[in-house]
Structures are given as C-alpha cells and as structure tokens.
C-alpha cells in the first residue's frame, strides 16, 4: 500500500527527499542510548519502509546537523540534558519551518508539555511510555505523509500562481490586439462610408442611375462591416470584463416602443405584423438604456428574419407573474422555430442558422459574425437578468428577457 501511495506522489514532489523513496532518513535526538536503540528497533519493524538513522544526544549538535541536511523526520526527546526540548524545537523550526515533521517524545503525565510542543510547531508527540513498534511507526508514517502532501500542495500552488500570471498577461495582450485591430478596421471604414455618402448625396457632381446603384451596394457593405467590427469589439470587451454599463433610471415602455417603431420598416418589407403590448404597471428600472435597446433590437430583428412573409411578431412587456420584482420582455414569432438540438447553442458565438434552410450555417457564407445573441445574453447578464428561449420547430420561438426591478447587476463605473 505504501508503495502505491508513494508512487502517486512521485511526479508531484520536488527532489529534496532521498532518491530511493523508501529509505527514510531519521534524526534521533535523545540522550539515553537505550531509548535511541528502542526507536531504531521499533521503526525497523516497518516492513514497507527502510530507515537510515542518525543519532545525537545534544540539542546543539542536532541543530548543526539540521542546517546541513534535510531529514525526512526528526524524533526529539523533551528531556535533553543540555537544553530544554522546547528550545531545541524552536531552533529546528527556524531551520525547517514545517517542511520536516518533528515529533516530540515526552515523559509521563505530560499533557501540558505535549500541548506546548504542538503549539510550538511540533507535528506530533508521543509519550515514551506509549511508544511501541506500532505507535511509533504509525506516528512517523502519518507525519511524513502529511508533510509530503503539504509540500506538494505548496509546490503546485506556486506553479498555478505562475501559470495564472502568464495567462492574465496573454489575455490582456489579446484584448489589446483586438482593440488595435478594430480601430485599424474602423478608420478606413469611416472614410469609405463618408465619401460614398458624399457622392450619393450629389455633393460631388451628378451620377448615373447605374453608378448610384453600385454605390449603394458599397455603402451597405460599409455598414455591414462596421456592425461586424463593433460586434467583435463588444464581445471581446465583454469577455475581459472591461465592459461597463451606463446605468440610469429608465422608462422601459418608452424604450421598447421606440425600438418597435424603428423595426416597423423592416417588418413591413416582409409584410410581417409587428405588434407591441405593454402592461400598465411597469416601474422605472435602473438600466443601460442604449444596451437594452441593442438587445431588444437584436431579438426583434432575429424574429423578423426567421418569420415568413405575412407572419407575426409580437412584443410583450409585463411584470413577471411568478417572480416578484422582475420584469419580462417577450419577443414572440410564429416563424420557423429552432430545432431542439440547436436550442442549446443559439447563444454561442459564431452560431448562426441559415434562414433559408434552417440548418446550422457556420459552414456557409454569413451575413454577419453571428455574435448578436451572444452579446445580447451577456448584456442582459450584466444587468443581473436572464435571456432565455423556448421554441418549437415549425411553430415559432419565444425569447424572454427577464430583468430585476432593483439593481442586481455588475458594478458599473
């Protein structure tokens, strides 16, 4: 048993212990030679470990030896002739800390001494009268194993600390990279959009219908790219936790109304009936108005995208009927719905469904980066809320944004 136990520590323990893991180096500090012999005899009955003994009758000598060598265990007699056991214990602790177990051997009726020893840093104590082959072996084994475990834990903690620092550094590097990339992408995009705009507004002379048509395509492409870059930046900032909300008391009905009105244009293009119903008793809620608008816009946009011509999308704002102090915004469509398997994945990054085939379109060409729902979910989360979905293939989907009435979100700066 000791073999397998020692084996499992093998990769974990740094090499400061004897090469042959079964030979234990014990320092015996006792001025009675008969006692010293006894300890040797007792420990040698241990069939699973071999021991090498070094002995001394002097506390000072012991301290000297410990400064030169790291033993696996130290047996210390309390009643030494040259010094008090506790004093020697102190000195040994100064050398070893807790990296080597020191076992105090005490006399009879010595509960107080035993307690003092433990308090001073001894790992264990054993009254000499109770010392036997089994008790001594057991005590030494326990303490050596305990110390080995502690050493390996500390070693690993240090390793983890180093690894952690490295990861944090890399993480920050990556974030800085994303920031630079999006800035470098946005700069030319801005001027591209501006100049095309200027031409389309006839500020650079007349243009033909054909030129106008093509330039409008270019303009739309610029808008798309800008959205993609902004999404990219959003998602990386959310992930590093560098995203902070600008929270203020918000009139949610007004906000939802505003978004729905904006989305009517898109809905009408597919003859989709976009309706809104707002309950009467919605309180003012602390929210980042812009971000919540972003979320609702995203959900309604998706609903419209995945609903056929002539379908219906309804938006409902009401107090949660089951949970106190929560408000729910539902975006319900009677469109294609989402397949059960894919339902779990809709909020993942880059996950998109091709509106034509209703299949996972990560392989095919995409209209965007597919980050909308990921960002929406994170934004709702930052508010202390939840974004969830229920759906049935062929029948439609219901997305629900649940928000707390009282601020429970991330700390905003």
């Amino acid at each position: 048993m000791a073999h397998t136990a020692a084996q499992s520590y093998d990769t974990l323990i740094p090499q400061n212990i004897s090469n042959d893991r079964n030979i234990r180096r014990i320092l015996v500090i006792d001025d009675d030679p008969a006692d010293r012999t006894l300890y040797r005899v007792f420990l040698n009955t241990d069939s699973e470990n071999s021991y090498h003994f070094e002995e001394t009758d002097s506390g000072e000598e012991a301290v000297r030896l410990c400064n030169q060598e790291k033993y696996d265990c130290v047996l210390l007699d309390y009643y030494l002739s040259d010094q008090n056991g506790l004093q020697i214990l102190d000195k040994l602790i100064k050398v070893y800390g807790r990296s080597v177990p020191i076992i105090m051997l005490t006399g009879q009726g010595s509960e107080t001494i035993a307690m003092e020893s433990l308090r001073a840093g001894a790992m264990d104590y054993l009254p000499k009268r109770q010392a036997s082959a089994s008790s001594l072996t057991r005590t030494v084994n326990n303490q050596i194993e305990k110390t080995q475990l502690r050493n390996s834990v500390n070693y690993h903690l240090e390793e983890l600390e180093i690894r952690n620092k490295e990861l944090t550094r890399k993480h920050e590097e990556i974030q800085r990279f994303y920031q630079t990339v999006s800035h470098e992408l946005k700069t030319p995009l801005t001027s591209m959009k501006e100049f095309v705009s200027i031409i389309l507004e006839d500020l650079a002379g007349p243009i033909s219908d054909e030129q106008r048509e093509y330039l409008e395509l270019v303009y739309r492409g610029c808008i798309q790219m800008t959205n993609n870059v902004n999404d990219l930046l959003d998602v990386t900032r959310i992930e590093t936790g560098k995203y902070s909300l600008e929270v203020s008391p918000t009139n949610l009905p007004v906000v939802v109304n505003h978004v729905v009105k904006q989305m009517q244009v898109t809905a009408k293009k597919k003859s989709i009936n976009l309706s809104l119903s707002v309950a009467e008793n919605i309180p003012v809620i602390p929210l980042d108005e812009g971000r919540i608008e972003q979320v609702i816009s995203n959900l309604i946009g998706n609903a419209i995208k995945f609903t056929n011509q002539g379908g219906a999308v309804s938006v409902k704002l009401e107090l949660d009927s089951t949970i106190e102090d929560r408000v729910s915004i539902f975006v319900i469509d009677n469109g294609k719905g989402i397949e059960g398997d894919l339902l779990d994945n809709v909020f993942e990054r880059l996950f998109q469904v091709n509106p034509e085939t209703n299949l996972d379109s990560t392989e095919t060409s995409k209209a965007g980066l597919g980050l909308g729902l990921t960002i929406s979910r994170e934004l709702v989360s930052l508010h202390g809320g939840q974004l969830s979905v229920q759906s049935e293939l062929g029948k439609g989907s219901t997305f629900c944004v649940s928000l707390p009435v009282y601020w429970q979100g991330a700390k905003s700066t």
Binding site: E194, S197, T226, L233
Partner: protein, 119 residues
C-alpha cells in the same frame, strides 16, 4: 460666412467633412495635430471646432483646456468625434462642456444637424 475648424489626424475624414461643410456654405480649415491646432485656432478664429480626441501631440481634452485659455477661442463650441469606444469618454466630454460627442463612423446627417443648431 460661418467658420469651422476641423482638428482630425485622419486626413480622409478631414477631407470628407470639409467637402460636406463647404457644400453647406461654411468656411472650413483643417489641421492634423494638436500642436498646429492652437496656432490655427488663434489665427482662423472659428465659430465652431470639430475635434478628434486621439491626436498626435496631445489629446483632445487637453487641447480644449488650452483653447479655453486663449481669448478668441475661449467661447467657441467644441464638438468631439472619436473612433474610440472606450467607456466614459462621452461622460468626460460632457463634463468638460463639449457641445456634442459623436462616435465614428458618425451619422453625417446628425452631425450637420447639430452644427446647424450651434452656429
């Protein structure tokens, strides 16, 4: 004719803005860094300043401070345009008394509208 000074290190954006403002009948001048900007502002005496925040030679906020200390530019309304989406910039701009704050890419219509209102 009302005068607009554009302080923007992206020459393309500066040009695009110049074209638009010219068409609307404004007299436009542009500089590309914070250092030249102070001199230009002093000599050109604009009625409005359109300024990027990230500029070579110093950032927009510091520049605004400096301009406020010069007699003939102290009361000129300043509108910021920036490519940075760093949080809190809008708030900082508001605190410093900026007349407007736009993120790039900006909506040209909105920007022109605000300028029309200010001067």
């Amino acid at each position: 004719m009302k005068k607009i000074l554009i302080i923007e290190d992206d020459k393309n954006i500066a040009k695009a803005l110049t074209v638009r403002f010219n068409k609307l009948g404004y007299d436009v001048a542009a500089t590309y860094d914070a250092v030249m900007a102070t001199t230009k502002a002093h000599s050109f005496e604009p009625d409005l300043i359109l300024m990027d925040i990230a500029l070579p030679g110093g950032d927009g906020f510091i520049l605004v401070d400096r301009l406020r200390q010069i007699d003939n530019t102290a009361d000129v309304p300043v509108v910021f345009i920036t490519a940075s989406k760093k949080q809190g910039l809008r708030e900082q701009a508001r605190k410093i008394g900026a007349a407007g704050f736009f993120e790039k890419p900006f909506n040209a219509g909105e920007l022109m509208g605000l300028v029309g209102q200010l001067i």
